[in-house]
């Protein structure tokens, strides 16, 4: 099968500041692909470009064999994006928020209901969804945002540090959600600087630093190649 996303030689500068110095990777159908790297490596920049929020610099991006630059609206139909720092409308009740977001993707009221039902199942928040988002804890907010990103069964879900700011248990739950609900035709592109999380979550990994891809492959391949016990060691070794 063709790749969901193919990125070749992608560059991006903010003014004079170089953020991406030409990166290549591809996301295959049904896989979880992770970008890992330290702060300022260029992860968010990459994900925002794929999410049509930032304009790409040099390089080519093809999404489902469509030219990415020419058809941003088509891309937006088929992706969903969970920003690194995100919130939901505080005055809305959880359920209303899900309906509001589902409405943009659903073609029929039945489909909208199906999306919301799926999100309710993902969040496991139950009756709390009838209260306002403003009253939610960080973990609850993150879960509802993640649920909204996955409820529409997008072709590609882009998750920027899905577990950022969460405690161990909440992070674990979020990871399990990603693992459990990513099948059924959804691929995931995520970022993290938590190397251990990556091992659990991802099928393939790209190590990124200073706007360049250092190495990529399955965690097993990478550990083997760098003769390392875990991903942290892989990262240290690939920096040399």
């Amino acid at each position: 099968m063709d790749n969901v996303l193919t990125v070749k030689g992608l560059k991006k500068t903010y003014g004079k500041q170089m953020a991406l110095a030409g990166i290549d990777f591809e996301v295959r159908p049904g896989e979880v692909f992770a970008l890992i790297g330290p702060n300022g490596a260029g992860k968010t920049t990459t994900l925002r470009i794929i999410a049509t929020l930032l304009t790409p610099g040099d390089g080519t991006i093809s999404f489902l064999n469509h030219d990415f630059r020419k058809e941003p609206d088509l891309v937006r139909e088929k992706i969903s994006y969970l920003p690194e720092e995100a919130g939901a409308y505080k005055n809305m009740k959880g359920l209303d928020y899900l309906h509001f977001m589902a409405n943009f993707y659903a073609r029929t009221p039945e489909e909208e209901k199906a999306f919301v039902d799926r999100a309710v199942e993902i969040t496991e928040l139950g009756d709390r969804l009838k209260t306002k988002v403003g009253t939610y804890s960080k973990g609850m907010t993150r879960k509802i945002l993640l649920a909204r990103a996955l409820m529409t069964k997008p072709v590609l879900a882009i998750l920027d540090e899905p577990t950022s700011g969460l405690d161990v248990l909440n992070a674990l739950e979020v990871r399990e959600i990603v693992r459990r609900y990513v099948k059924e035709g959804t691929s995931v592109l995520l970022s993290s600087h938590n190397m251990l999380e990556i091992e659990f979550l991802s099928d393939r990994v790209a190590l990124i630093d200073k706007g360049r891809i250092l190495d990529s492959g399955t965690p097993a391949e990478l550990k083997e190649r760098h003769q390392a016990k875990n991903m942290e060691e892989v990262f240290r070794s690939s920096l040399r």
Partner: protein, 430 residues
């Protein structure tokens, strides 16, 4: 369309929150309360007022003055058998705001055709204008008495001649011409009525502009502050739809709240003015109709279109300011320049005639889109249709340019990077 309505509904819901409703209700109550209070004060001022009077003369003439005042709805409290100084003291302790002293010899000097004097002492117990009306009315009564007295002098000395034409040998009959119509009135009266007619336009415009732009600005800034903007921008809906939904929601809610405020304001003014003002207005109205200085349906349509365009321009500007701002608070301060843009033409229209100011100032004023609604009624009355439609076209152009610009910003990196720059640099340093 379904997506747009979904978004519009959400924008309106975000704007119509408890805070807005409470503040609207509070303002309505406040206007009502102040209006009621003022009405009471006005009634007190117009109603029977007490005046103290010390008549040291006791002649027929001095009695006539006091009787005249009494017939002008004053209650006269006579102070008898006291000196002037004592009377001043007594009146100070009382309630009356005015002491009238008629010196002895008043009637005699009147008879001898010598100038005669009466003294008034006003006790300023407050500095409100309505409170000071008492002494103005006394002056009116005195001048009426002056008239009567001088008429009778003239009749006595020059029998057979009409005193009125003796006092004012030249009479003027005033006519005002506006284009091809003519009516009997003075120019200053008509100018006064026109300006009071269009007084409401700037007030309405200011209200709506301030309300709606505040709403649009906060609608964008809140999305940034609450970190919902990024998600919204990746949703499959066109950027122009996002902008339009926000502007439309703010425009509608702004219009509604301005309407409610106006209603409150009107009931407040009604409270102060009462029936007197209404009568005067209907008299002036006849003159204005005769001169064609009133709005017919097409006039209202033009004025409405002009106001509407001005509001759209304000909203588009506010949208851009909102995008530039980092968060809600800085967005609020961004609103200041916009307010000034509305205030400048307002103040200039108060003090100067836009048609006669020097060219650079005129260009400056006309370049501000918000000036045009202020000028509509003038231009309509004077038949300057070129100016009117030029103004409308200009506002439309400005609006289009602003919306295109706003849409550009919305689809460029700026909408995200503008707020991020500072924060990101810091994380890199750390």
């Amino acid at each position: 369309m379904k997506k747009f309505l979904n978004l519009l509904k959400k924008e309106i819901k975000e704007l119509v929150n408890v805070q807005l409703i409470v503040s609207l209700a509070f303002t309505l109550l406040l206007f009502n309360f102040v209006g009621q209070m003022s009405r009471k004060e006005v009634q007190k001022a117009i109603g029977v007022q007490t005046i103290s009077a010390l008549d040291l003369d006791g002649s027929a003439s001095s009695q006539a003055i006091l009787a005249g005042l009494e017939s002008a709805r004053f209650k006269i409290e006579r102070i008898e058998e006291k000196t002037k100084e004592q009377a001043i003291d007594i009146a100070r302790g009382g309630e009356s705001k005015l002491l009238l002293v008629i010196p002895s010899g008043f009637g005699d000097s009147l008879k001898d055709f010598k100038p005669s004097q009466i003294e008034t002492y006003s006790y300023m117990r407050s500095f409100s204008l309505i409170g000071a009306r008492g002494s103005a009315i006394v002056r009116g009564v005195i001048s009426a008495l002056n008239n009567v007295l001088s008429d009778s002098f003239l009749k006595e000395k020059l029998p057979g001649l009409d005193p009125a034409s003796l006092k004012n040998p030249i009479k003027s009959k005033d006519f005002v011409i506006v284009q091809k119509r003519m009516a009997e009135a003075s120019a200053s009266e008509v100018a006064g009525m026109v300006s009071s007619q269009s007084l409401l336009i700037p007030v309405v415009l200011m209200m709506i502009v301030i309300y709606s732009s505040q709403m649009v600005i906060s609608a964008v800034a809140m999305e940034k502050q609450n970190k919902t903007l990024e998600t919204l921008l990746t949703v499959p809906i066109r950027r122009t739809s996002i902008i339009t939904a926000k502007m439309l929601a703010a425009g509608l809610v702004g219009l509604l709240s301005a309407g409610i405020y106006m209603f409150g304001f009107k009931s407040f003014m009604g409270g102060i003015g009462g029936d007197e003002l209404k009568a005067a207005a209907s008299q002036g109205g006849a003159v204005m109709r005769q001169l064609g200085l009133y709005f017919d349906t097409s006039g209202y349509l033009i004025l409405g279109a002009s106001l509407f365009l001005a509001i759209l321009v304000a909203l588009a500007l506010a949208m851009i300011l909102g995008v530039l701002a980092e968060d809600f608070r800085s967005a609020q301060s961004m609103l200041m320049p916009l307010m000034f843009m509305v205030m400048i033409p307002y103040f200039i229209s108060l003090f100067a005639d836009i048609n006669t100011v020097s060219l650079p100032i005129k260009i400056f004023i006309l370049a501000i889109p918000f000036s045009h609604p202020f000028l509509v009624s003038q231009n309509l009355y004077l038949g300057n249709y070129g100016m009117i439609f030029g103004g409308l076209a200009y506002m439309l152009v400005v609006f289009t340019v602003l919306v295109v610009f706003a849409a550009r910003i919305f689809s460029s990196d700026k909408i995200l990077t503008m707020k991020l720059r500072i924060g990101k640099k810091r994380t890199v340093v750390a």
